[in-house]
């Protein structure tokens, strides 16, 4: 692309911000990790209570 590429970006007014992307990614990864922890915790609880299956 030539020099005009930086002169006007038609998407600039309606772009997701870097902060939003940062929050989304970190939330996604932490949330996924918490999911694994939750499943293990629930398994232990079900096992102790004899409610696995």
């Amino acid at each position: 692309m030539g020099g005009c590429a930086s002169s006007w970006n038609p998407h600039r007014l309606t772009m997701f911000s870097a902060s939003f992307l940062q929050i989304l990614v970190l939330l996604g990864l932490i949330w996924t990790a918490l999911g694994a922890v939750t499943l293990v915790g629930l398994l232990i609880r079900d096992w102790i209570k004899g409610e696995l299956w």
Partner: protein, 474 residues
């Protein structure tokens, strides 16, 4: 993986898949001892708790599509692409109140076919069976094809051999253990998937920060950050409705609703949706890292594993990178293949063998019949997967079919009177118009149109010529 050279030596790939396969089969045999009756085999004794229930619903919904198509959507449609795929989790969450209703109304139900037969008669049952069998078989075939391609790309294993291996492993432990084996292995597979995705995601952040990714996209691919990207916005709603239709109609989810304890089912489905939601976002993020990391993406359909391999290589993991990716992807496929085998064979046994052919299944001598059904389903899938044809297009177009069942399911569960023939006409009309829209307008309109047309007919059936619905207990 996306280079021409496999990431793993052939011997390593074979050892890995065979090792995992032996593990799942041994567990399947062990857990299969609990299945002393057909109800135990098909529905795990109707006593599954919340931990196993949530994990199996979540793991089944994590397919190779989640780990490979979610990054593809992010690569092509940016942030909205990731969120569009994540919106499929709403199907699981919204199934929670339906699961509660299903357990209340069908305490002895075995398959989703029981609901359609009792609520909508033989005509509605037949339409449902056609849609769900077509959809389930195509879903199974896409998983088998993905498995074969994965082993070929990652480990240099011949496509037919790899595809046969993955299908064969899943068939074996499902044969031995039924839904007990499926649910038990799903829990282990779900943990591997979650941990793997988190590990790869955080490893990516060690080599590129989000600000760099954003700056790169602003400069090179600003459309991927566009809040008003039309195609992506369309994709969100189409994907969401596709997800609703898949979950609400398919016996994979109904069998789980029947398998869980009555009060557990709603909570487990809701929790599984919550657990599933971030996975496409975490997987999709990898695709956005491709540019800043300088990864030359040769096949957008494999951008996720390609970037993952690159990231793990930067971390100094060497060939372990291929091992981790293969294990995570194998688990994501196995967790869906086993569920499809079990649920689809249950339909063949309950709805075709018993329902259509009027045979009686001896609750204690069920194994030959159930085994035959599992083998038949797997052979059909294997034969169709041999050709490696682009069956994913068939699967995506089926969004129109399954979306047409959303409102009939909801109406059948919550309304007391309906004009049944009008609902059935609506399902068929939704299928036809949805498919027309998929092929003639744009793929991301198929499920939207199918659901909308079916909805109009279903609502009309509530007020025009409505008659009390058939009972849900025999």
């Amino acid at each position: 993986m996306m280079t021409d050279e496999p990431a793993l030596p052939v011997s390593t790939a074979w050892s890995l898949v065979l090792g995992l396969g032996v593990l799942w089969v041994v567990l399947g045999i062990w857990w299969g001892k609990k299945a002393q009756t057909s109800e135990g085999f098909m529905l795990a004794g109707r006593n599954v708790g919340i931990s196993l229930g949530s994990a199996t619903a979540m793991a089944t919904w994590v397919t190779s599509n989640t780990t490979m198509v979610a990054p593809l959507l992010a690569f092509e449609k940016g942030i909205w692409g990731m969120l569009a795929y994540a919106s499929a989790s709403f199907g699981l969450m919204l199934f929670a109140p339906l699961a509660y209703r299903i357990r209340r109304l069908l305490p002895d139900g075995v398959t989703a076919g029981d609901f359609f037969r009792r609520r909508y008669g033989h005509a509605g049952w037949a339409v449902f069976l056609v849609i769900t069998l077509v959809y389930s078989i195509t879903w199974l075939v896409t998983m088998a094809i993905a498995g074969g391609k994965l082993l070929e790309a990652l480990g240099g294993i011949d496509y037919v051999q790899g595809m046969t291996l993955i299908l064969g492993v899943c068939v074996l432990y499902t044969l031995f253990g039924g839904l007990y084996a499926v649910i038990g292995t799903d829990f282990i597979q779900s943990l591997i998937i979650l941990v793997g995705i988190v590990f790869i995601g955080f490893e990516a952040l060690q080599h590129v920060n989000v600000q760099e990714v954003h700056s790169y996209l602003v400069a090179e691919q600003p459309a991927l950050l566009d809040v008003m990207m039309p195609a992506a916005l369309l994709a969100i709603f189409n994907n969401m409705l596709f997800g609703f239709g898949e979950v609400m109609h398919n016996n994979v989810w109904w069998s789980r609703a029947f398998a869980m304890r009555e009060k557990v089912a709603p909570r487990a489905f809701f929790l599984s949706g919550v657990l599933w939601f971030p996975i496409p976002i975490a997987a999709g993020f990898l695709a956005l890292c491709a540019g800043p990391l300088g990864v030359n993406v040769t096949d957008p359909g494999k951008v996720g594993p390609q970037v993952a391999e690159h990231v793990l290589g930067l971390a100094g993991l060497g060939s372990m990178a291929g091992v981790i990716i293969l294990v995570v992807l194998f688990c994501s496929m196995a967790s869906s293949i086993d569920s499809l085998l079990a649920a689809t064979s249950d339909l063949l046994v309950r709805d075709i063998y018993e329902g259509v052919f009027g045979q009686h299944l001896n609750p204690e001598k069920f194994r030959p019949i159930s085994a035959t059904a599992i083998v038949v389903v797997s052979l059909i899938a294997w034969a169709l997967a041999l050709s490696e044809w682009s069956i994913d297009q068939v699967l995506f177009s089926a969004g129109a079919l399954v979306a047409s069942l959303i409102w009939p399911v909801i109406a059948g569960l919550f309304w007391r009177a309906l004009n049944v023939p009008l609902v059935i006409v609506g399902i068929i009309a939704g299928c036809v118009t949805g498919l027309w829209a998929y092929f003639q307008i744009q793929p991301y309109t198929g499920a939207l149109v199918g659901a909308a047309v079916s909805m109009v007919f279903t609502f009309a059936a509530r007020w025009v010529g409505a008659r009390p619905l058939g009972t849900l207990t025999d």
